[in-house]
Subunit: 193 residues, 2 copies
């Protein structure tokens, strides 16, 4: 049988012994989340830390002006949570919605704490992985404020071309920080002949 997707993810940047994994995976619960359902919602405390086995979700923020901003998409092999809310039990500023039927596994707060305390490699994984996330967000922040909409779209074509087929266009538009109309025009401009 294939190694577990979670183990593969944990081992990506650092070693993670098989035996620790056996102990770790027992702390998770499985959960099916149907399309469009909200995994957690802005202004309430996030109770679970989820890992995507199958499906795709988006994390987004409702602005005071009434618009929505999509921050990222979580596909297979991604964590989806809001660690600040989860750890400190404070209201989240983000919501998370399934864009497809999703198969997840998740930790509750208690088991997360137990795992972090007793599995040093998991603690280290979190430090390393969080560092990557921060670097990714800083780059994205820089790109979002510097690049033209056309450049942003071409970046997606290059870095995540499968999104074009997997995700509705208006969610990609929100991710890029443009209106759906503008994205439609960008696509027209950048369409191969």
């Amino acid at each position: 049988m294939d190694p577990h997707l979670l183990l593969k993810t944990l081992q990506e940047r650092h070693h993670f012994p098989q035996e620790e994994f056996q102990k770790f995976i027992l702390l998770f619960q499985e959960r099916f989340v149907p399309k469009n359902e909200l995994l957690f919602i802005q202004d309430s405390v996030v109770k679970h830390l989820a890992f995507v086995l199958k499906g795709c979700l988006r994390q987004y923020h409702n602005t005071p002006e009434g618009t929505e901003r999509t921050l990222f998409f979580a596909e297979e092999g991604w964590w989806c949570g809001e660690m600040d809310s989860f750890i400190n039990r404070t209201p989240s500023t983000m919501s998370m919605q399934a864009l497809e039927d999703c198969q997840l596994i998740y930790l509750n707060r208690e088991n997360w704490e137990y795992a972090t305390r007793t599995i040093p490699d998991y603690a280290l994984y979190q430090i390393i992985n969080r560092g990557r996330t921060v670097a990714w967000l800083k780059n994205r922040l820089s790109n979002m404020t510097t690049e033209t909409p056309d450049e942003k779209y071409r970046r997606i074509l290059k870095e995540s071309p499968h999104w074009i087929n997997r995700l509705p266009q208006y969610h990609i538009a929100s991710y890029l920080g443009v209106t759906p109309e503008t994205l439609s025009r960008i696509r027209k401009r950048n369409r191969p002949l």
Copy 2:
């Protein structure tokens, strides 16, 4: 004597015993960085994890188009590093520059690893703190793509009013993602009578 600024920072969100701190602080070295000097530079590996005792720095990114984007300012009590580069020894996408004469303390990679491995409360601190940073960046990303320049400026007035006196205006403009000319006009518009 006042408790050390670093201890105060470590204890902000989680307990950090005095005795562990005595051990921890010994791993640091002091360093003075004069105004305008670069602490680390884009495309090279970040060798140190620094903590600001006195002074102010900015982290920025040079875009391919030749412009600069300031991502954040690090004042007293801030960490300034690029953990992804520091941990994985990969080239950084960011540079860090002192905006004033700065008094820093810093860890090298070896001592960081030792501290992370042997001081569980430091490992936990990093996990918690990194979670905060991620949440902060996500909110900033949302704000930067949603708010008008006027709203962004008023957010600074509200959240970090002292920046107006401490930082050059063109760096604030870069932080907000607008040109210096635009920031000047925003200030004029929002000036009290």
